[in-house]
Amino acid sequence: MAEIKVIADRCTLCGVCVDSCPQGCISLEDEVIIGEGCTLCGICVDACPSDAIEIVRKRSEIDLSGYEGVLVFGEQVDGEVSPVVYELLGKGRELADKLGEDLICAVLGSEMEEEAAEVACHGAELVYLYDDPLLREFRDDTYTEVLSDLVRDIKPSIFLLGATNMGRSLAPRLAVRLKTGLTADCTSLDIDGDGNLLQTRPAFGGNIMATILCEGSRPQMSTVRYEVMEKAKRDESNRGEVVRRGIENLPVQDRVEILQSRRTAGESRLTEADIIVSGGKGLGEPEGFQLIRELADALGGTVGASRLTVDDGWIPYRHQVGLSGKTVRPKLYIACGISGAVQHLAGMQTSDIIVAINKDPEAPIFKVADYKIVGDLYEVIPEIIRALKED
């Protein structure tokens, strides 16, 4: 719904845009030519010193006025609504208030009455409950049928899903079914002056942030990163209505059969920890994680890790914090021997308090730290553990 143009009168053929293009698709001949690799990312528009490149938005001819309300997918595992849903409800409430619309949650599962009532105490005016044994376990096919039917019926303007594996598998199927736009992995959501959803997400490995609009189609769909938004507050006095809906009239097809499904024996989950102590390549050797674990144990926390240590097999993937690992938002994050690549920062910079321990005073991790300790972690951490044990 947009087109990129070079305004020849303003263009000085300076070539700044050629160098700015991350796709390498701009060339300079007698004029600036934007080739077909263009993703309309807008970087050249900002880079151009003469304001000679513009992206023209085409106004939608579709009537979008019938779409109203913020819908949240209330994903559940084993009959338990996932924690990310409460974060979506928190953000969804804020967006709904800005629009003056309702917050709606869809819960699909089996024997979910109590959980649906709980969701209704977290800011939603309306909870649609689909309670059926066929919906006990998540299935892309079935859930797509049910949710696309609901969306066509209630026509929400915004539809948020968690950027969990489940959400990331389901949302693109739904978006294609509904022929609407979907933005992955949003870390920030807001409403612009025209009432459209501003969806911000990391791009290019977290090096830059991109704000994305979907103004010409509805609902505006996003998957939202876990542990980034504030959780909705529980308020029993302000309970939303739970409305049951059946699936009898839906063509529920099952092309994928679940042969086995069991919860992984979880160590305490990284994303739920209040305190995380993370180690990086500055540990020097895999055995360094013993010291990290000792500090985590002394603080009652969990162990995290940088991507490089995971890639080198020092510690399993489930500990990885960062863009390609988990996003975490603990009360306290202690980064030990982690230099702070943007990809890592993208996964932990919303932590309440950040402590960095690193030999290199120039390490980028110090920029996001509340408390900076420049020093050898093998000298400092044992002192912290000793002092904690003295208490």
Binding site: M1, A2, I4, D19, P22, Q23, G24, G35, E36, C38, T39, L40, G42, D46, A47, K58, V77, D140, D141, T164, N165, M166, S169, L170, P172, R173, A175, V176, T180, G181, L182, T183, A184, A203, N207, I208, A210, T211, I212, L213, C214, R255, V256, I258, R262, R263, I275, L299, I353, I354, V355, V368, A369, D370, Y371, K372, V374, G375, V380, L388
Partner: protein
Amino acid sequence: MELIVPVKQVPETTEVEIDPSTGNLIREGVKATLNPFDAYAVEEALRIRDSHGGSITVLSMGPPQAESAIRDAIALGCDRGILLSDPAFAGSDTLATSYTLATAIRGIGSFDLIICGIKTTDGDTGQVGPGIAEEIGIPHISYVKRIDKIEDGHITVSRTLDDLDQRLRSTLPCLITVTKEINEPRLPSFKGKMASRKAEIPVWDSGTLDVDPCRVGSEGSPTWVVKVFHPSSERGGVELGGTPREQAGALLDCLRQRKLI
């Protein structure tokens, strides 16, 4: 088994930085490469073909130079490649991309399995795989870490979905997206490189594909980027100096004050 592997050419590095003084992107000679996540999809397809027979078609949408990503896949052993390229495809978001790739796959004819990488390193959405499956109307299974068996028109796989370890069985044809755990991609052989050099790669444009012009490129893309910016998250924290013992003591005092311990 007729296998299809959609791949993408991506910039070799995602280390794009913005010059803080000018706000411009610093980019040093962007080299393009086969999306690293697609290498796992290609490898898995090769293994299936080698044990079950059949052939592998690699498909890519992109500018003319994206042909080299297809050649990379042929060098690894894929049988043939098709490039979807047309200026009309520029500015495609994941919805338009899913539609265009799905239209091409329908054009290829019958197939048993589509294997996709879990996401691309540049777009990083992971949306196109499931999008293609929905567009074609076949089932999909995401996050596959092992193929257990393929027989009697069905595929059985293992995957991790958040906290769940699952075994699933789908009817064929079907689409799977595969994670890095699934295999160790091979390197191209000499023979493969020769084949890759000689391979003819047809280019399908919007005419060949007979796509709906309203559903491709920027026209068919409901989402678009309005703004890019450099994330700033500097906190201007306090440096705790002294000997390691003093540093440890000062830190614990601060954490106690904030009631974190």
